[in-house]
């Protein structure tokens, strides 16, 4: 089935509920041609439709990245949803936006998504040199956020650091691996980290990364 009728249904939706249903249907197509329309929905101030659009953009994957990166930075609401989509897609072209979001966004839920996304980038297809450079930038950003004021962001930093360690291919004696473990140790230390759920998750990550 062509995706065009589904796109038209989103464009002609006349109520919030209609937009939600039309977006969900278009998202289910997971067709690359749907990406620009789904990106447009992110700016409509309809959270239900935006959640559906993010799911669709993540399912589309790489072809959705360019339209996401072209969003107007002044459209804050749409950018926040775009960070969630880029975090889910894991394409390295989203790196700059994810780093900026983690370190500067005012919304904890946006920083949270960015932190998880920085541990979720798909690095396997890159050259060894590219992979090392990108992993280092992810590491610096995540370590820079271990003192974020919101527990849920620090929790996501733990998950991001764990994902980065597992995805970047550093050996146990690589300095980067050591820095990840140092960051996790700080997030697991009661004298630095007040939220016990964050400490618990950090201990689990360390256990996975440093099997005894």
């Amino acid at each position: 089935m062509s995706v065009q009728p589904l796109i038209s249904a989103v464009e002609s939706a006349s109520s919030a509920l209609e937009l939600l249903h039309a977006t969900a249907a278009l998202a289910r197509s997971a067709d690359a041609a749907a990406a620009p329309t789904l990106v447009e929905v992110l700016g409509f101030n309809n959270p239900g439709a935006a959640v559906a659009a993010v799911d669709g953009l993540v399912a589309i994957g790489s072809p959705a990245v360019e339209p996401l990166l072209q969003l107007d930075p002044r459209n804050y609401g749409a950018r926040a949803w775009a960070v969630r989509a880029l975090a889910g897609i894991g394409d390295v072209r989203g790196l700059d936006l994810l780093i900026e979001a983690l370190l500067t966004d005012v919304g904890p839920s946006v920083r949270r998504a960015a932190a998880k996304g920085l541990g979720n980038l798909q690095l396997a297809a890159l050259t060894v040199g590219e992979r090392a450079a990108i992993a280092q930038r992810c590491l610096d950003a995540l370590v820079g956020a271990v003192s974020d004021g919101e527990w849920v962001v620090r929790y996501a930093v733990v998950v991001g650091l764990e994902g980065l360690a597992l995805g970047c291919g550093w050996s146990q004696d690589h300095p980067g691996h050591g820095h990840i473990c140092t960051g996790l140790a700080q997030l697991g230390d009661p004298s630095c980290e007040e939220a016990s759920v964050v400490r618990l998750r950090a201990a689990l990550a360390l256990q996975r990364l440093q099997p005894s």
Binding site: P108, W151, V152
Partner: protein
């Protein structure tokens, strides 16, 4: 000067506290009013002066938010708790705004704020139901067992009296939600306390039923009190679903993990609820399964 917290602007109908976690993205590192970070000395100075109540209001908020341990914080907040000021609809100011915020801040400053329990108990008898609400929450946060008897006395009339609507205003005679939650948080599981709470599980308002079931679940641990909360996760109103999420988290009811994960609400609130299951609950499902459920919602 703008009044600090939009959520506190004058309104007869106040949102549940459970709703306040949302939309505060912008209130975190910087103050909600000034746009610039202030330090503890500045917060204390703002609370100490009395010419500008909005500065006091902000100072009190800052000290609570940042868990101040300064020796002057609790005495200054106790003094602020005594301030009475009529509501000023023109300026968007709620009744006794500084006193209410001082009570809220004291609730966050245990153990030093235990010294404020007598003043908070007095505020529990204030004519202003909004101040009674703030005092009840603070006493619950402080786990003040002295508050159980006076709170039970306030609720003793049941849904028909304490839980009746005030004339001309969609508020109840007593701040029932806060009083019920405080009883659950304080944790005195005596039969006569449970007897006072139980009738509120049949209140007309779902938020009150949710608070009552939460308190009974916290105090008795009986699974039957989780059932109304799980049912409210499927309520047609987002506000009710949010409240049930927070209540299951506060009670640490771990069997609710899947129901929480699939509730139609913001992931931010589901994460807070799941954190509650981990930190307040025990047993099955275990920590690793709960952490995996949290990871999936980031």
């Amino acid at each position: 000067m703008a009044w600090p917290d939009a959520a506190e602007q004058h309104r007869c109908y106040e949102p549940s506290r459970k709703d306040r976690g949302i939309g505060q993205d912008r209130l975190t590192a910087m103050g909600p009013m000034t746009g610039e970070p202030i330090n503890e000395q500045e917060a204390l100075a703002r609370l100490r002066q009395s010419d500008d109540p909005s500065m006091q209001y902000y100072g009190a908020w800052w000290l609570g938010r940042n868990r101040s341990r300064h020796p002057e914080s609790v005495p200054l907040l106790i003094a602020a708790l005594q301030q009475r000021r009529p509501r000023d609809p023109g300026a968007g100011i709620e009744e006794n705004a500084v006193a209410r915020n001082a009570a809220r801040a004291l609730g966050k400053l245990a153990p030093a704020a235990l010294a404020a329990v007598p003043e908070l108990l007095a505020a529990l008898g204030d004519p202003d139901d909004g101040l009674r609400e703030a005092a009840a929450r603070a006493l619950g946060d402080l786990g003040a067992t002295e508050a159980v008897a006076p709170i039970c006395a306030r609720l003793a009339g049941g849904p028909a009296e304490a839980g009746a609507r005030q004339d001309g205003c969609p508020r109840l005679v007593e701040p029932c939600e806060a009083l019920l939650e405080a009883l659950g948080d304080i944790g005195v599981a005596e039969p006569d306390v449970l007897t006072v709470i139980e009738p509120f599980t049949r209140h007309d308002w779902p938020l009150i039923r949710s608070a009552a079931a939460r308190a009974l679940l916290q105090l008795s641990g009986e699974p039957r009190w989780a059932e109304p909360l799980l049912a409210l996760l499927g309520d047609s109103q987002l506000q009710v679903r949010r409240a049930a999420l927070m209540d299951l988290g506060a009670a640490g009811w771990r069997p609710a993990v899947d129901a929480i994960s699939t509730t139609l609400a913001e992931n931010s609130l589901k994460l807070i609820a799941l954190r509650g299951l981990i930190e307040n609950g025990s047993g099955e499902p275990g920590d690793d399964a709960l952490l995996a459920a949290m990871d999936a919602l980031l």
